[in-house]
């Protein structure tokens, strides 16, 4: 069980959250014409071994999107910030 320290609600079980994907993926510019760039954006993800930044949604709590640092190897959880406050 992962415990996530929501910036709004405090420390909660992972079961209150919904995983939202890789937080490092950047949407291409809307005028991007190369289909490979869009294919990478939509379908292709890296599978890192170690530290990872990912989106989680506090579905059963404050309903805010957060960016969580999680180690994919041992599930160690690091900093958790509101996604809208991360530039």
């Amino acid at each position: 069980m992962i415990r996530i320290n929501c910036p709004v609600c405090g420390l909660r079980d992972e079961t209150e959250f919904t995983y939202g994907g890789d937080a490092n993926v950047k949407r291409p510019a809307m005028d991007e014409k190369d289909p490979k760039v869009w294919m990478d954006y939509v379908f292709n993800r890296s599978n890192p071994r170690g530290d990872h930044q990912e989106y989680w949604h506090h579905t059963q709590g404050c309903r805010q999107w957060v960016i969580l640092e999680r180690n994919t190897l041992d599930h160690t959880v690091g900093q958790c910030r509101l996604a809208k406050e991360v530039k």
Partner: protein, 194 residues
């Protein structure tokens, strides 16, 4: 306002359930009171002040403690959202529009259940991941949390008393689950709304 019927008519039948000779928990559905969600965007804390000031509230408050002013309870449920219980939509409509804030009547959308008794904290510890010990969840604290995979607002009214605000359409299932979990403690159902 429409006449709202209880969603728990078939779930909360007055009587004693579970362990005989012990009555560690009492459950009762509270009357339906006005409930308004007030939500905004960036700069919400400042923008909402003209809505709150006529109610006697000086700020949006924090995410952990209920603000009370007379019959009104104010819950800061997100950075840009709060719930006002005990006041109707019409009372905040005009100020909200002028402040660029959205106000939404949720009075029909929640079932409110009150739990009393010596084992309420023990029961809630089996239902939610919130630490409900006195030291970390004192009187006046509230939390939005997941119970039975449903988002519930949990509030501590007294050392042995809690209020649960449950989405109306999920409340029959959730309270039924709560009753099952409470059986080992002994639970009494009191008359509530009809």
């Amino acid at each position: 306002m429409p006449d709202i019927r209880s969603a728990l008519l078939k779930i909360l039948t007055p009587g004693h359930y579970g362990v005989s000779g012990r009555n560690a928990i009492t459950v009762r559905e509270e009357e339906n009171r006005p409930l308004v969600q007030v939500a905004g965007w960036a700069g919400f804390e400042k923008a909402v002040l003209p809505v709150l000031a006529p109610l006697g509230l000086q700020s949006a408050g924090d995410y952990r403690h209920v603000q009370r002013q007379g019959d009104i309870s104010c819950y800061r449920i997100a950075p840009d959202r709060l719930l006002l219980r005990g006041i109707g939509l019409t009372a905040v409509m005009q100020a909200s529009e002028e402040a660029g804030i959205m106000a939404l009547d949720l009075g029909h959308a929640r079932t409110v259940v009150r739990l009393d008794g010596e084992a309420t904290a023990d029961l809630l510890a089996r239902l939610t991941s919130v630490d409900v010990r006195d030291v970390s969840f004192p009187v006046g604290a509230f939390a939005q949390c997941g119970i039975h995979h449903v988002g519930v607002l949990l509030e501590r009214l007294d050392r042995q008393s809690f209020r649960l605000m449950i989405p109306y359409t999920w409340s029959a299932s959730l309270v039924s689950y709560l009753m099952d979990t409470a059986l080992p403690f002994g639970i009494s159902v009191e008359e509530g709304m009809d």
